[in-house]
Symmetry: C2
Subunit: 329 residues, 2 copies
């Protein structure tokens, strides 16, 4: 996918942290005494919705784009994405003075399509259920000579996402906490793999749990099968941000080695977690961004008697979805 | 109201910052490139919804309660409040092992009544339109020998709230910004006065604007009249957190000397600002907490060509109010 295909390491994550400093926000690690009382443990919530462009994807995009050569910058970048990666590449490219084309599913949330355009990128759409996004993206890139910034299966993207894991470990330490478990939303596996590298180096005793929507549990089934398997193309979920077809090659290699396991959550549980995030934590989280929190709230990852960090990985939800979550209260 | 009636100073605010460190959250100062583009200036948003108990009130409550003598701690504390101060005193008291009684209007948002009880306080209710909250509160306090923690008109409470102003100035400096204006929601005036002291010492060239709901503009009219005047008891607003009858004596003294002015916003403008906070900033803000942001978004405080900090002072909104805000989009 890029010329550099070696697996990233914890050193790459640390270097990425230096590269993104000054561009990315060190998002807060929140807590709620009342949630802790309810769960009988200590829950730390990484509010990555407050990241630039509203999602962790900005970290990987900045790390990748900061490494372009002068010649590559002149050609521009292209990304194919269900939404947050699109905004991330669009905004990161603009910050580095690089032109960007984004290939997006035509049924992506309206707010994500609009925002991507507002960041200055050109948007090319495709049908998520009949067309192959990589195929569409690679064709445009080849035609225009642009550098593809993959959403997850790239060493620099993985390393960039891993900076989130580094931060959580540091922020937990600052308040005297040692993490028994760390829970992340899992889609293509870039965030999960990056955080796995950070935890392996900085907090090796911490369990790392991925979370997937029940009908998009490709990583869970791939771990079981020992090889990458695909989701049913007929599957649907409200969690638009975590619907890849199959794990990445690089990400799966890392996750297979380092993941404690994967838990799954339903759309209803994701909506419930969104409502809790809004009313207890005062943070807006999109459905796919709320599934790790849902895993903790449902007890699918045990919080009782433990210290558990969950990542709320993005907040770019359509207002109607936020209303649906609030109406459950 | 307390034995210590001297006016607080910037030194008191600095001392309060030391006292609340480790208890209160250093809440993030957010920004949004797309909001900045829309406003033609630089807007920095203090996301104080992310404070413990969901509002700035925790700062003043911790500062005041941390100064109780052993004998006072044994007697317990009492607060009369429209909601956020109630939760703040309840939670701060619990942290210091002090018992608390909270006197609240019976029509306060359900979430605030429930949360106050969940923090471990005893709640005594009164009718906001027929009874005098200070009268009710003082009677209970006298009967039980409790120390009253006033919501705003107390030097230690004012100094505690001022720590928010200190933080904003420091956080702006960290990103190389000098503030042309600072905008806060104004109710009893504690946050406004505390921030005024912080700005006078740390950023004296910065304009300080208070914001009030149009029908609760007691501070605006008091500044005009040169003396403290009252709001119409028949006035109603969705902004429940900023509905005091009249400015405090201490707070008005400070605000009269240091405030640039007061602007007013409508309920609709507050709801609009809440929607912007949720979708652009990913932060939940309650109506009264959103009025300073509304002042900037409406241009009532000019952002164009300037750097302006606004305080989103709290996030304890009932879900139905959040839905009303989202349905405007």
């Amino acid at each position: 996918m890029t010329e550099d295909v070696r697996l990233p390491t914890a050193a790459d994550v640390r270097e990425a942290a230096d590269r993104i400093a000054g561009h990315a926000v060190r998002t807060p690690l929140l807590s709620s005494p009342r949630l802790d009382a309810r769960l009988g443990g200590r829950l730390l919530i990484k509010a990555e919705s407050l990241q630039r462009v509203g999602a962790f994807k900005f970290r990987g995009a900045v790390n990748r784009i900061s490494r372009l050569t002068e010649e590559e910058r002149a050609r521009g970048v292209l990304a194919f994405s269900s939404g947050n990666h699109a905004q991330a590449v669009a905004h990161a490219a603009a910050l580095f003075g690089v032109s960007a084309v984004i290939v997006m599913p035509e049924d992506a949330p309206a707010v994500k399509l609009r925002n991507t355009r507002e960041y200055g990128a050109e948007v090319v759409t495709y049908d998520r259920y009949t067309e192959d996004r990589e195929g569409v993206g690679m064709a445009v890139a080849a035609e225009r000579g642009m550098v593809v910034v993959p959403p997850f299966d790239d060493p620099h993207v993985i390393a960039g996402q891993g900076t989130l894991g580094l931060e959580v470990v540091q922020q937990a330490r600052e308040r005297g906490a040692t993490l028994d478990a760390f829970v992340v939303p899992t889609s293509g596996g870039g965030l999960t793999a990056g955080c796995a590298l950070a935890l392996e180096a900085e907090s090796p005793a911490t369990e790392l749990w991925g979370t997937e929507p029940v009908d998009f549990d490709d990583t869970r089934r791939s771990l079981e099968a020992g090889e990458r398997v695909r989701n049913d193309p007929a599957a649907r979920s409200i969690c638009d941000a975590v619907q890849t077809e199959t794990p990445g090659r690089l990400t799966f290699g890392i996750n297979q080695r380092l993941l404690t396991g994967i838990v799954t959550v339903t759309d209803d549980e994701a909506l419930e977690a969104m409502a809790v995030a809004m009313t207890e934590l005062k943070v807006v989280v999109e459905p796919g961004g709320a599934i790790a929190l849902a895993a903790a709230l449902t007890g699918r990852v045990e919080v009782e008697g433990r210290t558990v960090a969950v990542v709320c990985s993005g907040g770019n939800a359509d207002p109607g979805v936020l209303v649906r979550a609030l109406e459950r209260l």
